[in-house]
């Protein structure tokens, strides 16, 4: 057993142990025990992942573990990346959970399922055959469903979100199941090497069916439009450390699936697949961020932003597949997509955990009721601020580097890549650019309205900072984010070789530690220098202005309230009002529902007693696509119910008629 296998084994054992602890320990010890052991499990998973990325692969087969197919575990460098990310997010969330879960999610069931969720995710990426992959996938979905439902007895929305999630995730599972079974049917057995061999003699139609089915299935896990509807419901309703785990780790598994099936098993394939991927990515990115920009619920905003970022990752994957005959650019695009995925995991962990602290400290996650948190919650505010900077693709932030790489890949996609690429690239660029712009507005809103200014509710005014375990977890996540922001080179060389391995080409980026220099095409960026120069300029400026130019001491004064006053929190801009101009600009796309009710005084129609204003931004895709679908399903269900009367005679009759029908069918077709 090599180090990778050893670490993975330790992680699994620790995970199971943590689950047992969660089920068996007493209430006051539970959060600490589960948190500590799960954190260790996450750390072990990270180590396994890193060791796999460094080249130590691990392979093991347990034929007796699962009937029909058995279980094969293969940890190669692709699995390693996802394993490491999952482990790291699990580590941070588990540490955070020590403080967080004690108050909000300390039941026996959630505490026992949390570590199971972590290890099922690790198993999904370590699975080496289709049977194991599917079983782990389903277990993972069930665990996350249980965790989403943690607070269902307290809030009815949770149950509704859970229903959406359960249905969507199973539809996705059906798609994956169908796709992979079709694939397996063409191969000798269901292990990945056999599938790789089978891919060569797969008919184009079958290959396309496999790819599209798995793309839809895995895409729904990644929250890709139009299969995203569950994500902005379920992610916010889960306890925050679970939200972080779902939004930063679980969605990645959708990406894993697409990479594994599309690039690794099917070996690239046809161009239109990747065109489809790119288009889905572009739509998800813009649609996601647009809804994030309109959201007033902090966690829902973050959920939509997950859709956006997965869209960007998909754009990278699509571009990589589309220009596959230009290995340099394809490798660059793939590396950019993977880097963005890692970055997203880092900053989304920070953001969701900070949002959890806000919910805990201020009692609300409605941006319209927050504000003024920088005083009472300085750590959380700073962490969210840095996370927001990272998410809005501004330097020196994490997402800036990966979006820069993505744009570089799109720039260097030569027209030789075919007419489709030439048409698609400008559109992809527009999508990335629009996303970047809207992300800036979104996160200025989230941070500026949610944390700065003055408190807009009594809860926000009485906010208090979270306990040490939570702030420590936030600190770790922020540190990782910062390192990724200024030294992406640490990771990028690994990602480059991973991408070239997947595409069977050379590494797209060379590192000299500080500067990211692209290979084969020109392009260089140094996030570290950028950060150092910016911070240096700012500090120099502070010194010059404070020491040389300022001649008087700072005086505290009343806010300028036009001389009237005092200003009340009701006069502040809220998240809704902040987003209103944007909402007007994108009126045709989001179609907000607004209505104004004016109540007139009884004495005269000219005197107004009250004006009521309501504004809701509904998910348009949900309304157009899912509402008719649900209605059709319920019509069918009503019809089906009429058939089921409870009479045994009737059921026997159904059986008889079906049998007759089948026999006739056989007779006719034979």
């Amino acid at each position: 057993m090599n180090p990778t296998g050893l670490a993975l084994g330790v992680a699994l054992v620790l995970g199971v142990f943590a689950a047992v602890l969660g089920a068996a320990t007493r209430k006051h010890l539970r959060a600490r025990a589960v948190g500590a052991v799960t954190a260790l499990c996450g750390a072990a998973g990270t180590i396994a992942g890193i060791s796999a990325m460094c080249g130590t692969r691990y392979y093991a087969a347990f034929p007796a573990l699962l009937p029909l197919s058995g279980v094969t575990i293969t940890v190669d460098s692709t699995s390693g990346l996802f394993l490491a990310v999952t482990g790291a997010v699990a580590f941070v969330s588990a540490v955070y959970g020590v403080g967080y879960a004690r108050a909000d999610a300390n039941g026996r069931l959630p505490q026992a399922v949390f570590p199971l969720f972590v290890i099922t995710m690790m198993l999904v990426v370590s699975a080496g055959n289709v049977g194991a992959l599917l079983v782990c996938w389903e277990l993972m979905a069930l665990c996350s469903l249980v965790l989403v439902l943690t607070e269902h007895h307290r809030r009815p929305e949770v149950a509704r979100a859970g229903r959406w999630y359960a249905v969507m995730t199973h539809l996705g599972f059906v798609a994956i199941l169908a796709g992979l079974l079709v694939f397996t049917a063409a191969a000798d057995d269901d292990t990945f090497p056999a599938l790789r061999v089978a891919a060569h003699h797969l008919s184009p139609t079958t290959a396309s069916v496999v790819f599209v089915a798995t793309l839809l299935g895995f895409g729904s896990k990644a929250g890709v439009v139009p299969l995203h509807v569950w994500l902005p419901r379920a992610h916010p309703e889960a306890p925050s450390h679970v939200s972080a785990l779902m939004s930063a780790a679980m969605v990645n598994l959708g990406v894993y699936g697409i990479v594994r099936v599309g690039f690794d098993l099917l070996g690239g394939g046809q161009r239109w697949w990747w065109l489809l991927t790119l288009a889905l990515g572009g739509i998800s990115a813009v649609y996601g961020i647009l809804h994030a920009a309109m959201s007033t619920d902090l966690k829902r905003l973050l959920g939509y932003s997950t859709t956006e970022n997965m869209g960007l990752v998909l754009i990278g994957l699509g571009a990589a597949g589309l220009v596959a005959d230009d290995p340099v650019v394809a490798g660059l695009a793939l590396a950019a997509a993977l880097l963005h995925m890692v970055n997203h995991a880092a900053f989304k962990t920070v953001l969701f955990l900070a949002a959890g602290s806000v919910q805990r400290g201020a009692g609300s996650r409605d941006l319209d009721a927050l504000g003024g948190l920088s005083g009472p919650m300085p750590f959380t505010t700073a962490a969210f601020g840095l996370g927001a900077l990272a998410a809005s693709a501004l330097p020196p932030g994490t997402a800036f580097v990966s979006e820069w790489l993505l744009l570089q890949a799109l720039i260097h996609a030569r027209p030789s890549a075919g007419a489709a690429a030439v048409v698609m690239m400008p559109i992809a660029v527009a999508a990335v650019a629009l996303t970047a712009g809207l992300a800036v507005a979104t996160f200025v809103k989230a941070f500026g309205v949610g944390f700065l200014g003055r408190p807009r509710s009594a809860g926000a005014a009485a906010a208090r900072e979270s306990p040490a375990s939570m702030t420590a977890a936030l600190g770790i996540a922020v540190a990782v984010c910062a390192v990724l922001a200024v030294l992406p080179t640490i990771l990028l060389s690994q990602l480059g070789s991973l991408a070239s391995g997947l595409l069977r080409t050379g590494s797209p980026a060379a590192m000299d530690g500080i500067v990211v220099r692209l290979v084969g095409v020109s392009g260089a960026l140094s996030p570290l220098m950028l950060a150092v120069v910016s911070v240096g300029a700012a500090l120099g400026l502070v010194a010059v202005v404070r020491l040389v130019l300022t001649r008087q001491a700072r005086r505290a004064a009343r806010l300028w309230d036009c001389g009237a006053g005092p200003l009340s929190a009701r006069m502040e801009y809220t998240a809704t009002s902040f987003a209103e101009p944007l909402q007007r600009v994108f009126d045709d796309v989001v179609q907000p529902e607004t209505d104004v009710d004016v109540t007139h005084a009884r004495e005269s129609a000219y005197l107004v007693e009250a004006i009521e204003f309501r504004n809701r931004v509904l998910d348009r895709i949900e309304r157009w696509l899912y509402t008719p679908l649900l209605r059709a399903v319920s019509v069918w269900a009503a019809a089906a119910r009429r058939l089921a009367t409870g009479s045994v005679h009737r059921y026997l009759g159904y059986g008889f008629y079906t049998l007759c029908g089948l026999l006739i069918l056989l007779a006719v077709t034979r």
Binding site: Q552, R555, A557, R558, W560, D561, C562, G563, A564, G565
Partner: protein, 161 residues
């Protein structure tokens, strides 16, 4: 557009030639400003006659801006307050607050007879008193309403140009 261009061409320079520099001593605080003063105008209860003259002072003919004075939107940006009218009850506190919002060094210019001694509004029921009863006044401009030249001259005393 062409019409506007032709008009600009025809009118040329509307500003009258600058008269000789101001007579009388400048407020001591304004000494460090050397050619720049930002002005916030406060209407503490005037009849709007003074406002029209202030607008004229900053218009093209008198062009107070050429001496370095500029009207600004917030007292935080200002060096000088230009207060017009007798201070009414409702404006006394806002006026104090506005004065407090101006970063020091700062000056107050009382513009018009009302601002100096309540003018025609003296002993009216809603009037607290002249500006100097509410905040310290450094410079006064007489007249009901004062001529734009007088306002410009007061501003020139502040900018020193």
């Amino acid at each position: 557009m062409l019409r506007l261009w032709r008009r600009i061409w025809r009118i040329g320079r509307a500003a009258e030639p600058a008269p000789a520099g101001p007579v009388g001593d400048r407020p001591a605080v304004a000494a460090g400003w050397r050619g720049s003063v930002q002005v916030r105008h406060v209407d503490a209860g005037s009849c709007n006659g003074c406002e029209i003259e202030i607008a004229a002072a900053f218009g093209p003919v008198y062009d107070a801006e050429r001496y370095g004075a500029r009207l600004v939107a917030s007292p935080r940006h200002a060096d000088a307050l230009l207060v017009t009218g007798p201070v009414t009850r409702n404006m006394a506190e806002p006026l104090r607050r506005t004065h407090d919002a101006v970063p020091s060094p700062r000056v107050v210019v009382a513009v018009g007879d009302c601002a100096r001694d309540c003018g025609v509004f003296a002993s009216a029921y809603g009037v607290v008193g002249p500006v100097r009863d509410v905040i310290p006044v450094d410079l006064e401009v007489a007249g009901c309403p004062p001529r734009p030249e007088a306002i410009t001259e007061a501003l020139r005393k502040l900018t020193g140009r």
